[in-house]
């Protein structure tokens, strides 16, 4: 059964066939036929205030559910505004399908009004993209876009639809499945390689599992738990794999790398076998590559063949889906106790646990996050912006399950957390969603508060306000002689130009007033400047039946530790200043 439809109608019908629950975006001239078709349709469209936020909301939706996030924007500036969102999703393997309006095929290349070479601009930041030149190709292209975005190593796919194609008419037949001869992701690992890997693990004395986003994508957390328990293998996670392994397990090492734990980094450097699963040896994890896990054989399980030996030479590669491969592997792995190794790690854990000054009356940002973790029992979805607060969140928020900690890892996109939190809350209305933000990052997309308020999407935002672009300030303090070049957000034109002595009592009044900002949207705004008020205030925003912002004035010059300086070896981890 088929009937004639316009391209715009085909798009809407195809999205409904793909069971797309909601779409984020913003209309424009070259997307008018699409928006006309949306009007009165069954498609749930969420109007954002900025296209970048639409792409991050789609991302937050996707990360929290595992289903592709969808956004629709117009040509030219609409398309360029989602480039950051696409790049963010691409780096972190997030399934997303973005639709952009385009000028009519007859004027493409003529520098028409709001024309941009969208497929050209987005080619390096998408898994694949399409320019649809004939309405007859549209349904098939949409099917392929969703297939490519959500299979293999997931990623964003963009479909650019010229306005005449949106208006064009043809029979609508939505294909049952996508068949692309040049795209066949390999899910099954090579049995020989799996056997070799298992043999090496069985012989090892000091193995470490190093798990990344791939473990969450392929839902392989149970298999990781099984293997680690069976063979007594400690587990360290990347930033994106937070929540993939239970933190309360003796075998959990928490995060590795630049701001990872002392014991995770020690364990990686001392290991005789590293089993990397769905992780890509990002430089923030490895430190100086030639010094990374020098004593270790490295097994790498990943669905993306290009991830193998890209950064670190791999001894045993296994290309395939993490869950499928680990299921094969688990029966080949010997049950074994590794007491000596676990004891050694226990000593490192005692030597330098994650810590901050707890015995004063100052508001240390880590304290705020510990309280959020306690009060939500680690069951809330936490999204973060990018910066110091993000690292503290990774260190001190203990998500109980995967897909509860959403953060821009690879690209490090400030402005991600707030819209991503809104997207996640749209997708999970029954879950608590807490956005942990810095005062710098929050200002990059805080206009989206309108979307939260208008749609009754009650995200709770905690701003760790230190009136600085804190992460850059920390580097300036440690590596640039405390020259705080353009990191102070309170600085006015009459401040001393080389000021590096921030003091809330003497500094100019901070703008914006985040409480008034929240109130101007009819959201709840609370400011906290005393330690004893932190816990009651967090409770209050969590209980609030509306979007809420908690502006916490934390210690201004607090630094993140442990720290492996950029380009240094993981061996050179500093556990405190000058340590």
């Amino acid at each position: 059964m088929s009937r004639k439809m316009t391209g715009a109608q085909i798009l809407i019908e195809s999205l409904l066939k793909e069971n797309v629950e909601m779409v984020f975006g913003l209309p424009g001239g070259q997307a008018l036929p699409i928006f006309d078709a949306i009007h009165g349709s069954k498609l749930n469209f969420i109007l954002t205030r900025h296209e970048q936020a639409a792409s991050h909301m789609a991302d937050g939706y996707a990360r929290s559910t595992g289903k592709p996030g969808v956004c629709i924007v117009t040509s030219g500036p609409g398309a360029t505004n989602i480039v950051t969102g696409l790049a963010t999703a691409y780096m972190d393997s997030v399934p997303m399908v973005a639709f952009t309006g385009q000028v009519s095929t007859s004027v493409i290349g003529q520098d028409a009004f709001q024309e941009a070479d969208t497929t050209g601009i987005t080619r390096p930041v998408t898994k694949h993209n399409f320019l649809v030149k004939d309405v007859k190709d549209l349904a098939k292209t949409i099917k392929e876009a969703f297939y490519i975005a959500s299979t293999g190593r997931p990623g964003p796919v963009l479909v650019d639809i010229p306005v005449d194609v949106q208006r064009g008419v043809c029979e609508f037949v939505y294909p049952d499945k996508a068949e692309i001869r040049s795209y066949k992701p390999n899910y099954n690992g090579h049995p020989g390689q799996i056997k070799k890997a298992a043999e090496i693990i069985n012989k090892s004395e000091r193995p470490v599992l190093y798990i990344g986003m791939g473990v969450i994508v392929s839902a392989a957390c149970d298999e990781i738990l099984e293997i680690s328990k069976k063979a007594d293998i400690p587990v360290t996670n990347t930033l994106l794999a937070a929540g993939a392994y239970p933190y309360d397990s003796e075998l959990s090492l928490n995060m590795l790398g630049m701001h990872g734990t002392y014991y995770a980094n020690k364990a990686v450097q001392a290991a005789d076998v590293i089993i990397a699963v769905g992780a890509r040896f990002d430089d923030r994890c490895t430190g100086k590559v030639c010094d990374f896990a020098k004593k270790s054989k490295i097994i790498h399980i990943d669905i993306d063949p290009t991830a193998i030996s890209k950064v670190v030479d791999i001894d045993i590669p296994v290309v395939g889906d993490a869950k499928t491969v680990l299921k094969e592997m688990v029966s080949l792995i010997d049950k074994k106790e590794r007491k000596e190794w676990i004891e050694k790690i226990g000593v490192w854990k005692k030597e330098h646990p994650l810590s901050y000054e707890k015995n004063d009356d100052k508001i240390h940002p880590q304290y705020v996050i510990e309280k959020i973790s306690e009060l939500t029992k680690g069951e809330a979805i936490v999204t973060t912006e990018v910066g110091q607060h993000q690292m503290w969140a990774a260190q001190y928020y203990k998500p109980k399950a995967p897909r509860l900690f959403l953060s821009s890892g690879g690209l490090g996109t400030m402005g991600f957390g707030y819209p991503a939190g809104i997207g996640a809350k749209f997708a999970n209305p029954d879950k608590e969603v807490v956005v942990i933000a810095g005062d710098g990052s929050f200002q990059m997309n805080m206009q989206e508060m309108a979307i939260a308020v208008l749609n009754g999407v009650n995200v709770k935002t905690v701003i760790l306000n230190n009136q600085y672009l804190g992460n850059v300030r920390q580097w300036q303090e440690m590596f640039y002689g405390k020259r705080y070049s353009h990191t102070c957000l309170a600085k006015r034109k009459d401040c001393p130009p080389l000021c590096n002595t921030p003091d809330r009592d003497k500094c100019p009044v901070y703008v914006p007033d985040f409480v008034k900002w929240a109130e101007s949207y009819s959201a709840l705004g609370i400011r906290v400047t005393k330690k004893e008020d932190v816990e009651p205030a967090i409770k209050k925003i969590l209980e609030a039946d509306c979007p809420a912002v908690l502006d916490v004035w934390v210690e201004i010059e607090e630094n993140i530790f442990p720290m492996v300086p950029a380009g240094a070896s993981l061996d050179d981890i500093m556990v405190r200043m000058n340590g």
């Binding site: 497929t119 050209g120 080619r123 390096p124 898994k127 694949h128 320019l131 490519i148 692309i180 001869r181 040049s182 795209y183 993306d304 063949p305 290009t306 193998i308 030996s309 890209k310």
Partner: protein
Amino acid sequence: MRHTISVLVENKFGVLARISTLFAARGFNIDSLAVGETEDSAISRMTIVVKGDDSVLEQVTKQLNKLVDVIKVNDFNGVEYVERGLALVKINAPKAVRAEIFKMAGIFRTRVVDIAQDSLTVEVTGGEDKIEAFIEAASSYGIKEVCRTGVVALSRGNKQ
């Protein structure tokens, strides 16, 4: 190390851009590139010549394979294959040396395809070595212009 890479791709617009972007994003210079339809008009073959160490080329090959429009990638390194390129070489040719140039063209088994008042244009086909050797030999007469294609290559024997 010089690598000749043969890439079968979907014959669609934008594919060449995807491949050149991939090389450019990793800072590789492509020595030569030739594209044309295959026996199946829906598939094109790109023959790409690049220099780089083996580990770098392995990564490039994997990245090429990862592109959605790429069907198959073969690195001909260590494989028996034939490769041919073509060059048009316009050589200074006053009457006094014309016969000499004709003779040289014959020795290289090339063809003279145009004769003008004071120049000859010679068509050279062959491997890169032969083309370079001819250009070297012709340079003693003075070369006005050279136009070269990238090489095209196929493995010997059975279809790979």
